[in-house]
Symmetry: C2
Subunit: 128 residues, 2 copies
């Protein structure tokens, strides 16, 4: 089973022409009911790797409250550049992290975005 999801499947693709400015990863996870604790455990371990990497800016892990959400967990993570994001996904430690036992249970759909409209009325470090 573990070979079914490769490290490449866990990496959002960048545009061939490159990209200027920050990028935002939006990574959607399919997590079966009752498996939240195991998923969060694995995700947290992986997040510790990413938080240490050059160019990492922020992350927010979202858990669905809508009962019909197809993706019950969504990570939104900001990186300083496409190059930094790609470098963090090209290491042996990344490959070891995302092929750790258990990840095969949680398919993900990662994609990279740029923010084109931002309206942040709330204060920094608002409680969440």
């Amino acid at each position: 089973m573990q070979d079914a999801i490769t490290p490449e499947d866990r990496s959002a693709k960048g545009p061939a022409e490159g990209h200027d400015g920050p990028v935002t990863l939006i990574n959607k996870f399919v997590v079966p009911p009752g498996r939240d604790e195991r998923f969060v455990e694995l995700w947290t371990a992986a997040s510790h790797y990413f938080r240490r990497q050059h160019g990492y800016l922020s992350l927010r892990l979202h858990k669905a409250v809508s009962p019909d959400a197809q993706y019950r967990f969504v990570n939104v993570a900001r990186w300083n550049s496409l190059e930094d994001f790609q470098a963090a996904h090209a290491t042996e430690e990344f490959r070891a992290t995302v092929t750790a036992d258990g990840w095969e249970e949680f398919p993900s759909t990662p994609a990279l975005y740029e923010v084109i409209v931002a309206d942040d009325a709330e204060p920094a470090h608002a409680s969440s």
Copy 2:
């Protein structure tokens, strides 16, 4: 065609038992290549409605840079409570906004989340 997507389809469902604390809408849009300008025009008009509503906190509209992204636009919007979010989606003005001519071209998949892990290293109002 316009009847194919109802205002209910444009509204993320909340849990029957309610929810304490802020909620985050993650709304994914299918936008055909070449139709970005029209989509952003319609979305911007709708966003002006939401920004005026009680309990609205913030929004970020993301545009894909990954060439294979299924959803080329994703809105991430924070609200102070489930009740505020639902009230904003229960008005006649909401119904008129999301049934405006042109929206039928852009199917959306809205769902509500709570933030369970937040690490915001970047300063408030960072350039984006």
